[in-house]
């Protein structure tokens, strides 16, 4: 399998506080890696380091063989190939759903409008929102906004998708719609990093589970096996509490 992402001894500090303390991880094409762990252990920060939203204080990140840190043009090149989905969607409120999806391909990737629009419309079918194409974000439910955000990320043909708690800000009844779309993406063989508290989703869809606690990766492995019984005490305890 071709390797997409390699983290080697990643260290992240905010001031004197260490947030990530030597994270090493390799992700191959088609993997769906689910990150779980207590609040404040640096899961979001880890994703943000990968696409250069945060600088790092040690270690190395390479994406498709290219070093990410330090070099602004390398960081931009990586961002063009990595789609990110945020907990609070972060759609552009002044644009319609369709315009949201089309903006980056047209402006950043300099693609022809007509081509982008055709692809965008197909993506709205995929996320089951063809009827909401001209709605503004404020007119949509959270679940709808998150699916637009997924379509927005997909429209740039990313090689990696990163989800940071994509369903945590949603009403319970719309969580399922978003998870269904994510399942479809998994079936297509997309490479995904997913920070989530949805353990059931991680067990069903994930190809790997990474349990993080106190700035480190404590345990990783097959999601089903880990949910059934993790090796480490800390992971077992955490998965037990969250699984209910």
């Amino acid at each position: 399998m071709t390797e997409i992402l390699a983290l080697d001894g990643l260290v992240k500090r905010f001031g004197s506080r260490t947030i990530l303390d030597g994270i090493s991880l390799n992700v191959s094409a088609g993997e769906i890696v689910c990150f779980v762990g207590p609040s404040g252990t640096g899961k979001s920060t880890l994703l943000r380091c990968i696409n250069g939203l945060e600088d790092i204080q040690g270690g190395r990140i390479s994406f498709e063989g290219q070093a990410v840190q330090g070099n602004p043009s390398a960081i931009r090149a990586v961002r063009k190939r990595v789609g990110m989905i945020f907990q609070h969607f972060n759609l552009y409120p002044h644009l319609t759903a369709l315009q949201n999806v089309m903006l980056a391909p047209v402006v950043v990737h300099k693609e022809a409008k007509a081509e982008v629009e055709a692809r965008a419309r197909a993506l709205f079918d995929k996320v089951r929102l063809a009827h909401r194409i001209n709605a503004y974000p404020a007119e949509m439910s959270g679940g709808e906004q998150q699916r637009v955000a997924i379509a927005r990320a997909l429209c740039t043909n990313p090689h990696l998708l990163m989800f940071d708690e994509p369903t945590s800000a949603l009403d319970p009844e719309t969580v399922g719609d978003v998870l269904t779309v994510m399942r479809d993406l998994a079936l297509e063989g997309r490479t995904m990093l997913v920070v989530t508290h949805e353990i059931r989703f991680a067990a069903d869809v994930g190809t790997r589970m990474v349990f993080m606690d106190q700035c480190r990766i404590v345990e990783q492995g097959d999601p089903r096996a880990m949910v059934a019984g993790a090796q480490t005490e800390r992971a077992r305890k955490f998965l037990g509490t969250i699984h209910g």
Partner: protein, 221 residues
């Protein structure tokens, strides 16, 4: 009195032109200052803040005198009352506008910058396509107020001998025997102009969907 109306209206046009030009320059300058403030380089920020505080604290009349009497002495160039007035009003407006534009940019949530950065937008692309359109909704209403203030302040140009609306009104009053009526007419013309400006501003705001729910979401995201 009636025979002076064309004169009054013509000078109303002069006042509008002077204030519009000053406002345009002030808005451009204010935007440039606000963008400079975005740059994370402390000395640059101090310069911008110093400029703003300076022009906010100095009476505009003194800026006007400085432009009209001071600049020619310093630079050895002749400066017309029109240029001096435009310059003084624009300097003053730019200080206020930089505050207004900064507040507009600040009103756009951090999540918008992050979404743009994550998607690979450069800083100018982010500004142009994502931040500016949202900031504009916040910037427009106070800008209309700045324009009206500038227009009222432009009456000070009469002091350095520029024949704009106020000066014309006072001249008319002199040549009609110093009555109360010309002053009333003068006030009425200012009122009509400024009222029209705020109406146009309100229409523009509606066009930009100000007050939609989407503004709340944008601020939160």
């Amino acid at each position: 009195m009636m025979q002076y109306w064309p004169l009054m209206l013509k000078s109303a046009g002069t006042t509008l032109w002077l204030s519009w030009l000053a406002m345009l320059l002030g808005a451009l300058g204010g935007t440039a200052l606000a963008l400079l403030r975005q740059i994370r380089f402390a000395p640059l920020r101090w310069v911008v803040i110093g400029y703003m505080e300076f022009f906010r604290s100095i009476p505009i009349l003194i800026v006007l005198f400085f432009a009209f009497y001071g600049v020619p002495l310093l630079l050895e160039v002749d400066i017309s009352p029109f240029v001096a007035a435009t310059l003084a009003l624009a300097l003053h407006a730019s200080a206020t506008m930089s505050e207004v534009v900064s507040a507009g940019i600040a009103s756009v949530g951090r999540g918008q910058w992050e979404a743009a950065a994550a998607a690979g937008f450069s800083w100018p692309q982010t500004m142009r396509h994502i931040i500016a359109p949202q900031a504009l909704r916040v910037i427009l209403p106070p800008s209309v107020g700045v324009f009206i203030t500038t227009l009222k302040e432009s009456s000070l140009a009469s002091i350095i001998g520029y024949i704009e609306l106020t000066r014309t009104g006072l001249l008319v009053r002199d040549s009609t025997g110093g009555g109360f009526l010309p002053l009333l007419a003068l006030g009425a013309v200012y009122f009509v102009i400024n009222y029209a400006i705020s109406q146009v501003g309100a229409a523009l705001e509606r066009r930009l969907h100000i007050g939609r729910r989407s503004d709340l979401v944008g601020a939160m995201a």
